[in-house]
């Protein structure tokens, strides 16, 4: 299974990560029919956002409401890693909550941002092929 991410959403996600490269940013991706169609930025309210993210629940509720009203469904969750690889951290594993959802991680540790793509099965992350379309 491949995750097909439109170029515009990839650019939006990278812009978000690069706006505040010193902290982890996070957000939701929503699909209309099958492919991701929208990106929702969600504030990171973690105590130390430079090393962790915790999505603001109220902003999540608000984003889910817009998705519902737009006929969209949650299909992905993204966040950035300012100083580490595009791989799930131990905290990412603890905090993952949506089985069957794509998890995208933007790493800013090198000059060129890198995107890791995974699927969470309820227990663990597995590699997910990412196609930019």
């Amino acid at each position: 299974m491949n995750f097909k991410l439109p170029q515009a959403l990839k650019d939006h996600m990278l812009d978000h990560a690069l706006e505040t490269p010193e902290i982890e940013v996070c957000g939701l991706l929503a699909a209309k029919s099958v492919e991701p169609a929208s990106l929702y930025r969600v504030p990171n309210i973690a105590a130390d956002p430079s090393t962790a993210f915790y999505m603001d629940p109220q902003a999540q509720i608000a984003a889910l409401k817009v998705m519902r009203e737009s006929g969209e469904e949650l299909c992905g969750i993204y966040h950035s890693h300012p100083n580490s690889e595009a791989l799930p951290s131990s905290r990412d594993r603890q905090q993952a909550a949506y089985p069957g959802t794509a998890y995208l991680i933007v790493s800013l540790m090198n000059a060129e941002p890198e995107i890791g793509s995974f699927i969470f099965d309820g227990n663990a992350f597995h590699d997910l092929a990412l196609d930019i379309v």
Binding site: I45, A46, A47, A52, Y54, D56, P57, Q58, Q60, I61, L64, K65, M67, R68, E69, Q94, Q95, A97, Y98
Partner: protein, 249 residues
Amino acid sequence: MNDEQLLRYSRQIMLPALDIEGQQKLLSATVMLIGLGGLGSPVSMYLAAAGVGHLILVDFDTVELSNLQRQIVHSTKDIDRPKVESARDRLLALNPDCKVTLINKQLDEKELLKEIKDVEVVIDGSDNFPTRFAVNKACFENKKVLVSGAAIRFEGQISVFDHRQESSPCYRCLYNDEEMATETCSQTGVVAPLLGIIGSLQALETIKLVTEIGESLIGKLLLFDATTTEFQTMRFKKDPACPVCGKDS
């Protein structure tokens, strides 16, 4: 269980997952309801009818005419009566088996901690954040299960916080702003059957918790939109920075 009880509860005893054992658990259970308003009304009626042995009703308010559009445990003749007394009469008329304890006051933090000590499940049907935060804290400190519901306008939500489990998030993981302004049904309005839907779900979750059937809404916030009749599930984990249950609290 006597013959009358076997007959009264027969339609749930015949459920293999519940059976006589589950009914006995319900009959032995003590459940506290915070708020006998729009949510507390259907919750209390379903739990009394289902045979929950002991209900502790907590409310400090009296019944008003404007409550009756949605607070269906009260009747027109109950206007100006304390809500807990009005609710007790209705619940005992529904099921005289049920033991009903009344707390006709706003409990402070210390009193709340004391009162929930012997309770299995606490159901929050209150309409303001200070009460919800206080109930959550008391449940966390006493390792109790909290079934929380809210409804306003055309939107409702419900979640379960099981403080017996170390990994369970709490209400403050979800609502982290202490200064958050409360919108109430009396200020903003609410469509009455929405309270029945969310209240019924709270009663259902409570029955499942007491009888240990199925999967509870722990770590899930069920959102209901009455305008589209759609449910959505938001999932969430314990917030490590939560001022109540977080590592640093």
